[in-house]
């Protein structure tokens, strides 16, 4: 039997450049407007920032602390969103259980909550005198509020719905035909999930995680309401910016720019490693 051709076929390095011709104006134009809309405030913000306050902010240890805490907590929250959210998204996309629609609606609800209300809701549940928090404190001595764990909890609560809904969209778009093929090969649902479902939905999953990370990085209302604003423990970049705003508007812009620069750096690095290949 002949199989491979005689000569070596080189693997293409990257996908071929799109060959379907120029994008039409009716799509190009709104896309450009969208970019301008999103970018112009950022540009004017940079213009409006006093360079000296930027230098001062960049050198401040409080800023370094807050930045670090922001990244730690957002990343932790994103990991938890992945661990909890992907299974839930999978259940919503692939398993036809009774009450699925209700669960999906319940999952969306926290998205609609203004952040401060999310903080209050978290307090009623996990606060030191909350319905679940009180027994937890009584039995283990641990309470979420005013701790870094509390910050992570608040971030997860706020970001998880975005992650789940977005991941579900990705899983549905990838289709379930390959799941069936894997099943006929004897793969358990868990193996199928790991080796087939997730890799195929990877672009959507990655996008969802970026959403979740960004949402949690910018999160402020729920965090400050639920956890207060303790430097080094619960003071993330957005809460630090809130405090600075009380005294120095210039500093706010400077801090925001620093936060932006670092986040964009992280995202670009991530994209290169994870998202473009997907």
């Amino acid at each position: 039997m002949t199989g491979a051709t005689a000569h070596d076929v080189p693997r293409p390095r990257r996908r071929a450049r799109d060959s379907l011709g120029r994008p039409p104006l009716v799509l190009l134009l709104p896309a450009v407007v969208a970019v301008l809309l999103l970018v112009s405030p950022l540009v004017t913000m940079v213009v409006a920032t006093d360079p000296s306050s930027l230098a001062a902010a960049a050198g401040s240890p409080a800023v370094a602390d807050a930045l670090w805490l922001s990244f730690i907590t957002s990343t932790a929250a994103t990991v938890i969103c992945l661990v909890l959210g992907l299974p839930l998204a999978w259940m919503l996309a692939r398993v036809d259980f009774p009450g699925r629609r209700l669960v999906r609606s319940l999952v969306i609800v926290p998205m609609v909550l203004p952040p401060v209300v999310a903080g209050i809701a978290l307090r009623t549940a996990f606060g030191r005198s909350g319905l679940l928090g009180e027994p937890l404190l009584a039995t283990t001595g641990f309470a979420f509020p005013y701790t870094t764990w509390g910050v992570v909890l608040a971030h997860v609560f706020v970001a998880l719905p975005f992650v789940v809904i977005s991941m579900e969209g990705g899983l549905r778009a990838a289709g379930s035909g390959y799941d069936a093929a894997a099943a006929t090969l004897g793969a358990s649902r868990w193996l199928t999930f790991r080796r087939v479902t997730v890799p195929l939905a990877l672009p959507g999953i990655a996008a969802a995680l970026v959403l979740g990370w960004a949402r949690s990085l910018g999160e402020f209302g729920a965090t400050i309401t639920f956890n207060g604003n303790y430097p080094g423990i619960t003071q993330t970049m957005p809460t630090l910016i809130y405090v600075e705003r009380q005294s120095d508007t210039d500093a706010v812009l400077a801090l925001s720019l620093i936060m932006l620069a670092v986040s964009v750096g992280v995202l670009v690095a991530l994209r290169d490693r994870w998202l473009v290949t997907a």
Partner: protein
């Protein structure tokens, strides 16, 4: 379910109903190769999918003594070549084939060795590292066959496994598969549109039409006495239905003339040639005469009579050349 004994004993016994698409009762002993033939839309793929547990179907199913009714696909020990391949796009050819053994608990190294072996046997060992998107249609088809066989299933379901393969590969693969199936104690269900497959690989031919089994029997029997127009065409016989009896004759028994034949031959038809194509040493004419008939004539006769598509001709067959059943 009337008779499930073969299924209980080690083979397959199934009664499957998918409303509007399938309603069959199928049994096969261990080692049997059941060729499923039938026109497009007959329900062949539906049957395969129902046997695999992918298509919800009412009824019962027994395999090698185990009741498969309601058992999810991953616990059925089937191996499926899908009509649309469904190779995992994110895995290499090797990983695709190793997937089955891995899923059944074989160690990674051993699985890869098995996979490599199967890819070699199917002539695509050199493409082990390629993703399905980087394979040609026929190469992908071979990987799909390797994947189904490597899982070492108790029930092998092959949905048109030789489509898209070039003639040489298809012939070689038939030989390869025949060798494999000879030593195989499981049940094989082979969907095909090719008479050769049905005649050379199968122990039983099952003729499906409109979701129902029209005829089941050994290949020689079905080929000699087809009961559907589809099988007649498949094996290259002319079959005419006569009440609930059938009259069959070979294309070479058909005489072709330009004018109405003399004599009393009651078996004669007038019609238009729809196509003429070489067939073995002869030329095979397809003639539309109420129903479609085929006739084999010599190349010389074709030239002399000018037997080209569009030409009106008379066909006749001697009564002695006709088998009635």
């Amino acid at each position: 379910m009337r008779d499930v004994s073969p299924g209980r004993a080690g083979g397959l016994a199934a009664t499957l109903t998918v409303p509007g698409r399938l309603d069959v009762e199928l049994t096969a002993g261990p080692g049997d190769v059941v060729a499923v033939v039938g026109p497009n839309g007959a329900g062949k793929t539906t049957l395969v999918q129902a046997l695999a547990g992918l298509q919800p179907a009412a009824g019962e199913q027994w395999l090698a003594g185990a009741d498969l009714t309601g058992v999810p696909p991953q616990e059925r020990h089937v191996g499926v070549v899908f009509q649309d391949q469904r190779l995992f796009p994110n895995l290499s050819a090797l990983e695709n084939v190793a997937f089955g053994p891995r899923a059944r608990g074989v160690a990674a190294g051993a699985s890869r060795a098995v996979a490599r072996d199967w890819l070699d046997r199917l002539g695509v060992g050199g493409l082990a590292g390629r993703r399905p998107g980087e394979l040609s249609g026929g190469q992908a088809q071979r990987v799909a066959i390797a994947r189904a066989l490597a899982a070492d299933p108790a029930l092998l379901l092959l949905d048109e496994p030789f489509t898209g393969l070039d003639v040489g590969v298809a012939a070689a693969l038939r030989v390869e598969l025949a060798g494999h199936l000879a030593g195989y104690r499981g049940v094989t269900v082979l969907v095909t549109h090719d008479a050769i497959d049905a005649l050379t690989l199968a122990t039983t031919v099952a003729v499906l039409d409109g979701g129902r089994l029209m005829q089941v029997g050994p290949p020689s029997e079905v080929a000699a006495r087809p009961r559907t127009e589809h099988v007649a065409r498949l094996v290259g016989l002319n079959v005419i239905r006569d009440g609930d009896r059938f009259r069959a004759f070979t294309p070479s028994a058909v005489a072709v003339s330009l004018h109405e034949p003399d004599g009393s031959a009651r078996n004669r038809w007038s019609g238009t040639i729809r196509s003429a194509a070489p067939h073995g040493g002869a030329v095979r004419l397809q003639v539309h005469a109420g129903h479609d008939l085929i006739a084999d004539v010599t190349p010389a006769a074709t030239r002399e009579l000018g037997l080209a598509p569009g030409r009106r001709v008379w066909l006749s067959v001697k009564e002695t050349a006709i088998t009635a059943y």
